[in-house]
């Protein structure tokens, strides 16, 4: 497995080079994605269309830089492509565009769509009697979208246990802290009330993440991963300002210095 530091360096360099993008919610995702792509998911980088692969829907599509770095480091495409993020003709669209890049299982970016799409995929796999699973990463701000709760209602109703949802609970959205813009707590209580099994973990602790994923339950599982928006860069951490802003050269230098 590559180190989280490598992924974070990629993210910062890519967004710096693009001149725009979402560092905060990409940096918070790193360990979750590392766990999924190195430990959890059955995938084959040489055969990205393998029918029985596990699938990921990054419903918070603005975390694309983190996913692109992970896919490149996992061997889905060359790492030198990473610097083309958001540039014309690059497959690395601002938000994931499935047909443009190998390894993407779904196009995302409009918040609120991903959980239902993941559920449809999971249903299709069940009908096909495939053992493959579907993972869906949601932003915490995204949980303000009503359509998420439509899906949250239907997934337990259809007993869809081949789907695991992960909430990147970084507590900050574009404008401000999530709980200031529109509170979503009590979050675990809400998911449980909708019929889910809830696991919590430190979303930056690989051991804790693995433990959360190892939960076996007869209900659909949602993992609430406590994370830090902008994780690893002191001046970005917990700052709504860094939701969607590219570091300039000096900020990039400082940020890279700080990464451990």
């Amino acid at each position: 497995m590559v180190s989280p530091k490598v992924i974070r360096e990629d993210i910062l360099r890519m967004i710096h080079s693009a001149g725009s993008g979402h560092p905060g919610g990409s940096l918070s995702l790193v360990e979750i994605l590392l766990h999924l792509y190195w430990k959890e998911m059955k995938i084959d980088p040489d055969n990205p269309q393998w029918k029985d692969r596990d699938r990921l829907v990054l419903s918070k599509g603005h975390g694309a830089p983190a996913l692109y770095s992970i896919l490149a480091r996992r061997g889905f495409f060359p790492t030198d492509k990473l610097e083309t993020l958001r540039k014309f003709g690059s497959g690395l669209e601002g938000h994931p565009h499935m047909q443009s890049l190998p390894g993407l299982d779904c196009s995302t970016g409009s918040l609120g769509h991903g959980l239902g799409i993941a559920a449809g995929m999971a249903l299709g796999l069940t009908i096909r009697k495939s053992k493959a699973r579907v993972f869906c990463i949601l932003g915490d701000g995204e949980l303000q979208e009503g359509s998420i709760w439509e899906s949250a209602m239907s997934i337990p109703a259809l007993k869809q246990t081949n789907l695991i949802a992960i909430v990147d609970r970084n507590h900050v959205q574009l404008d401000d802290a999530v709980d200031k813009v529109m509170p979503i707590e009590p979050l675990a209580y809400k998911w449980r009330a909708f019929g889910w099994a809830v696991a919590k973990c430190d979303g930056h602790d690989m051991v804790d993440i693995e433990k959360a994923f190892s939960n076996r339950t007869d209900k659909p599982l949602v993992i609430i991963a406590e994370t830090v928006k902008g994780k690893g860069v002191s001046f970005m951490e917990d700052q709504a300002l860094w939701h969607g802003k590219a570091p300039d050269s000096e900020q990039l230098r400082k940020a890279l210095e700080e990464l451990e």
Partner: protein, 309 residues
């Protein structure tokens, strides 16, 4: 007389038999859309996801990504309207094989009133890249539209209605995307109609013929892609085009025909359709009369315009 929704269900049953990838999803209106028949025949391939159209569209996107051909059906005003963002960003942007059955299209749901009448669904689906839009005119054609959609690569919107309409086609007459049908030929004018208004246009043509005015009547089942060969042919044989649709004039059939003809074969085009207003309660006939969707309205426009000429 049969409602086009009957043809939709017949199509689903045949499609389900023909292709095991066909899945039907409904949003708590299955007794109304008639998809209960599919549920009965293929229970393992039917899902009722409740009153949650956005979620229903998302499930279908996911099912398509897993290799299936999902049809979701609910009233057109919700199927196309409530879930438009999902249709736009997920279904069309990924060019997925989702089929959207817009039931109770136009004023056909009469007594339910404005909230349940889809008068903008053609406009908002037609505008989307990758989308095919089919508006069949009778039950047999609706069945064929469902079957034709199995061969289309990408999303398809099929609009059908609740109210019985005249039967115009044999059971075996196929629907081909990009093809309309010339049902009657006359050179004084032509009426291009879609859906329930095709039968009304034929009625108008009869009325005009009695007055010595011979008009062509074309059924533009495939609103996207349009039948451009048919439009070119009509522009060759006539100076005046009247469009007839159970839909807002803006963005629907009138919009589609005007967009093409203004660039490639300009002719005078007069619309018959709903003019910038909402529907209301009443029998379908009363609402259609109120909105000016009648054979009288069509023939009146043809006569008036020809006289001015």
């Amino acid at each position: 007389m049969r409602a086009t929704r009957e043809g939709y269900v017949e199509g689903l049953l045949d499609a389900g038999e023909k292709d095991r990838r066909v899945i039907v999803v409904d949003g708590d209106v299955s007794r109304s859309t008639g998809t209960t028949a599919f549920q009965k025949k293929f229970p393992e391939r039917f899902f009722n996801l409740g009153i949650a159209e956005q979620n229903m569209a998302e499930y279908c996107a996911g099912l398509a990504l897993a290799g299936f051909i999902p049809f979701y059906s609910t009233y057109a005003v919700f199927a196309a309207g409530r879930a438009w963002d999902q249709i736009h960003t997920s279904i069309c942007n990924m060019n997925l094989n989702v089929r959207i059955g817009g039931a109770h299209g136009g004023t056909s749901v009469g007594p339910d009133g404005a909230t349940h009448q889809a008068l903008e669904d053609i406009a908002i689906t037609r505008v989307l890249p990758n989308m095919t839009v089919l508006v069949p005119a009778d039950a047999n054609q609706t069945r064929q539209a469902v079957l034709a959609s199995l061969e289309i690569d990408g999303p398809v919107y099929i609009r059908y209605g609740r109210n019985p309409v005249a039967e115009l086609y044999n059971r075996d007459e196929t629907v081909v995307p990009g093809r309309g049908r010339l049902l009657r030929e006359g050179r004084h004018a032509c009426i291009i109609a879609a859906g329930a208004m095709v039968a009304t246009a034929l009625e108008a043509a009869d009325m005009l013929s009695k007055k010595g005015i011979e008009v062509s009547v074309a059924d533009m089942t495939s609103i996207k892609p349009l039948d451009i060969q048919l439009l070119k042919y009509l522009s060759d044989i006539t100076e005046l085009v009247v469009t007839a649709e159970d839909h807002q004039i803006t963005g629907g059939l009138f919009g589609a025909v005007s967009e093409y003809m203004s660039e490639h074969c300009p002719r005078r085009i007069i619309p018959v359709g709903v003019n910038n207003r909402f529907g209301c309660s009443g029998t379908p006939e009363e609402v259609m009369t109120h909105c000016g969707l009648t054979a009288d309205a069509i023939s009146g426009k043809v006569e008036k315009t020809l006289k001015i000429h």
